[in-house]
Amino acid sequence: MKNQSEEKKYMPEISQKEIDELRNAIKATSQKIIAENIERMKKTDKNRPEAMQYFDEIANFFGTREKEIRAAKENGKKVIGYMCLFAPTELILAADAIPVRVNSGWYDASKLGDRVVPVEVCPMVRSTIGAKMIGLSPYLELSDALISVLTCDGMTKLGEILSDYTPVWTMTLPRVKDTTQSLRLWSEEIKAVKGQIEALTGNKIKQKQLKSAIELTQKATKAFRRLQELRKGAPVIMGRDAMLVNQTYMWDDIKRWTEKTEALCDELEKRVRQKIWACPPDTPRVMVTGTPMIWPDNWKVPTLIEEANPQGVLVADELCSSERLLYDPVGVDEWSMKDMLNAIGERYLMASTCSCFTSEDGNEDRINWLLNKIKEWNIQGVIYYVVRGCMLYAMEYTRVKKVLDRMNVPVYYLDTEYTREDVGQMKTRVEAFLEMLTARIDI
């Protein structure tokens, strides 16, 4: 761990007094927003599933889960944070460490990030910098090391900036997925990060531990998929609720999360049999794709969609902060160390639909994901969500729109910032879009 007084590469000098004041103020706002978001979710679905209560609790950043991780750390466990989904969490679990995703969704923290990087930079990156500057995010603070996967430009530099405080391990991600040299590079990166995890934790990752970590995650994937499957039919759960369940996986205890998600699915299945719906079954079915949306502040778009007049319901997404988290299992043929590591490498690289990849066919994996969702989940319209500065998703819009236009699926490009002030303008657009979806039926 670096000495605070040591000269920093990026972070400005800031007095402890200012840090404390800013943290306390933003933390107070954040607690209010967490409570408010949950209240609004309860209001939208008055008969919200009882099993959601657990996830509401885990959604509190400054609550039970923080205390749990803190206690585990006191008992010698290590915490390993990551920003991008490519970090192989099975290896972290196999070394008896705790994986947590640390991307920031705090709007107010992004303003602090402006002290370090220009406003043109992606607000999620700026906000994560701001959060670190004042020690706002419990999970970022508890991280003993961070895995920084070099995906987009913002993420590449974010790791470098955060290394002013915390050891950062980079993983070089090939931008082309399926060449032999890409696969070779990526499998070397997996091995290297395994070595770093082992060195930090002092635990050698052995066959038995890795097998059980993979099996644990596979079970989580099964529960996760079960929840998404339930969203194929008439809306039995609001999109925000499902999104919150998906997202709590990023910092919850995986075994418990799996049990609670299965319990939620049991409850939902019962409701399907009783035909109890979260909103009218003819509510326009919407999917979102693009930049990740991070709890608690950046809940703006799903809230707008599900509280709009006319109302929409989010039944699927293609976001690395929600459905892409766990959708793809690690597929192992032989439980040898070599095969398991290969399977992990492949799952993280090949299954990803991130816009950081390029290929001659124009990120076909992402297009296929979208088309499959549209067909199977009966999507009526797609909101293409981008925060300013998110260059890769912004650029890929043209590609996605071309394909969806051909299929006669309406898609709307909704761009925003980490701010609450543009909600009025965004509401106008989202409502016009939903009105358009209903108008296709009748005006």
Partner: protein, 259 residues
């Protein structure tokens, strides 16, 4: 059947009264600080012209950025939905409706029934909208009405890079320092606006007929630039600034029929 449409815009409120689907009167007022009161004024004016009272109206539909503040309204319709309705009513072959107002520009793609199928909005910047002309007229020390005719006198094209009103203004100052003529600068300003609006339209696809509505459609300078940039004819109705209110009033007709 009497219906009314109210368009609560950022700068002005417009009202249109229809009798059996035909326009019988219009009213307008400045939005100011109390949009609800402004809307009442616009509706009163239109009712007075039509010799009607509010109780004669079967259904009022509101639109525009302030539609939630509309008085007497029975329902609402998005600005894009209203544009599409009005565009196809005014020009049955219209499939692309461009609306350039004071603070916002948008383009709507619609079908033969006037139902929108796609739309784009000028993203959070007034450089493609009427407020830009206002700011630039100030820089050139002419009135906003003089800008259009002035630009038509330009003998050659120069250019500014209008990504925002503020930067646009400093670009104009650069041209002034280069001693470009006022007509040329005025044309450069409209070209820059038309660039922004047309690139937005290109994202939707230029499907004829193309109709231009909104207050800025009355500006001959902007219209000339937009036609050049799009390379197609652009149709303009007699009362372009009332298109939103007209669309809302037409939607009100359908809503009465459905009820």
């Amino acid at each position: 059947m009497i219906t009314a449409g109210i368009d609560l815009g950022t700068q002005s409120v417009k009202a249109v009264i229809l009798k059996d689907g035909e326009v019988i009167s219009r009213g307008k007022s400045f939005s100011g600080f109390d949009p609800t009161k402004a809307a009442e004024q616009a509706v009163d004016e239109a009712l007075k012209k039509a010799k009607l009272s509010l109780s004669d109206v079967d259904h009022v539909t509101a639109t525009g950025s302030g539609m939630d503040m509309a008085p007497h309204s029975n329902s609402t319709i998005s600005m894009m939905g209203a544009d599409a309705k009005a565009g196809v009513y005014l020009f049955p072959k219209a499939r692309t409706i461009i609306d350039v107002g004071a603070e916002e520009a948008r383009a709507v793609k619609c079908d033969d029934k006037g139902i929108m199928v796609d739309f784009v909005v000028n993203e959070r910047c007034a450089a493609g909208a009427g407020a830009f002309i206002e700011a630039m007229a100030r820089a050139l020390e002419v009135t906003i009405e003089e800008m259009g005719p002035l630009s038509l006198k330009a003998e050659r094209a120069s250019s500014i890079n209008a990504t925002c009103v503020i930067f646009g203004e400093s670009d104009v100052v650069t041209l002034i320092h280069r001693q470009e003529t006022k007509p040329e600068i005025a044309r450069a300003i409209f070209d820059a606006m038309a660039d922004r609006v047309s690139s937005m339209v290109y994202r939707l696809g230029v499907n004829p007929d193309v109709v231009l509505v909104g207050g800025v459609a009355k500006d001959v300078g902007f219209v000339a630039s937009l036609k050049r940039k799009l390379g197609v004819d652009v149709l303009i109705p007699e009362y372009p600034e009332y298109a939103g209110a007209l669309g809302a009033a037409l939607v009100a007709v359908n809503r009465v029929k459905k009820a």
